[in-house]
Symmetry: C2
Subunit: 228 residues, 2 copies
């Protein structure tokens, strides 16, 4: 019985694990957005049948949870700076940067509690930064307030960014970017304050306005920490 007579052994399936699955899903989402992530496509990237994934995840939502947690690892800074304020600021900025790298994150952020290891680690980092500076309740309120601002601001930024991309690519001109509709609405005179704001506001880039708002919120936190 020579080699030539014996058939090749059947090709063993590519080994799989959650890490590989999540990586494939993230790659897909990075390329084409969240709606491009289908279990079939993810499986195809791994040269596997769609049903194979159900050995590792029970539902597509779970895959999303894993994706979010995976990316949250990028948020944790390698070295913790000393100041509580600096720590919170860095965490917020790194969150923003992670979302800009993975825009689909904006669709998921805040949508479910982040209970994965990295999500918990981020929460821990926020709380640790404030630990001992006030009573527990104040600390929690502070952490949650900063985090609420962060996710809210980032979401709006991405929303605007997408809208700009959708309406041609005119970036600087607000009115033109939003098409004739907004212009027409403003012309009705029913939105005088908005009209003034749109007309007179100096355009600042997104990062700076994120930063400014964040600073305000941090100021508020600082004020509350001062008086326990």
């Amino acid at each position: 019985m020579t080699v030539w007579d014996r058939p090749e052994p059947p090709t063993r399936p590519v080994p799989l694990d959650r890490e590989r699955i999540v990586a494939a899903a993230i790659a897909l989402a990075d390329e084409g957005g969240l709606e491009d992530v289908s279990l079939r496509k993810v499986a195809a990237r791994l040269k596997a049948g769609p049903m194979r994934l159900y050995g590792y995840i029970a539902t597509k939502e779970e895959l999303f949870d894993l994706m979010v947690d995976e990316v949250q690892a990028e948020i944790l800074p390698e070295t913790q700076p000393g100041d509580w304020r600096e720590t919170l600021r860095v965490l917020a900025h790194r969150t923003r940067q992670a979302v800009l790298r993975h825009e689909w994150l904006a669709d998921l952020l805040g949508g479910r509690p982040t209970l994965g290891p990295n999500g918990l680690a981020v929460t821990e980092a926020r709380l640790a930064a404030l630990d001992g500076l006030a009573d527990v309740d104040t600390v929690m309120r502070a952490a949650e307030t900063v985090s609420a601002y962060t996710t809210g601001a980032i979401r709006r930024e991405v929303a605007n960014l997408r809208a700009e991309r959708a309406t041609g690519l005119s970036k600087s001109d607000w009115q033109r970017a939003n098409g004739p509709h907004v212009t027409r609405m403003l012309a009705t005179g029913r939105f005088p304050a908005l009209e003034k704001a749109v007309h007179d506001a100096t355009h600042v880039d997104a990062e700076e306005s994120f930063e400014v708002g964040l600073d305000w919120v941090l100021d508020a936190v600082a004020a509350k920490l001062a008086r326990p």
Copy 2:
């Protein structure tokens, strides 16, 4: 040719308009969440074929936009209170209440720019409250910061609410509500600050923590308005 010989005239289709379509979609979403809203089901409620809707909307996303704008009408207060701070506070609270009435709004809030008439009106109300109290840029930053906090906080609240509902119905006990997983994670000792917070924090209801965080942010705004 008597009446009996003549066939009935063909039943004319039920007249349709965006208002009716949006109302049907909102009703569906209120009952079963956003994912229960399918063009087929919406159309069925109106005794129409699915394709009929495409005379009024070009895409499902547009339907969502219309839904959001419709519900935003509920946010505008009937009478404007005097104080800028009170105005912003009321707007935030009414936003929260609207989301609690229509939980699906949490999935959409902040996801796209709100360019509909009611959305613009809400923005206008926010800006109008601050109008003249500082330069335009500061006013915009203030409005956006408050709104970022609001949407972020509400989203987290709804996320937690859903998670609680999903894990049995134990509401007060954080650890039990989140199942053994979080308990086990905390037991690793890798999240000391989180552990302390979970253990020692006095449970305050969602509305109160929303209110407190909001007040902090409003304090921050007040401070910036003071010095132009």
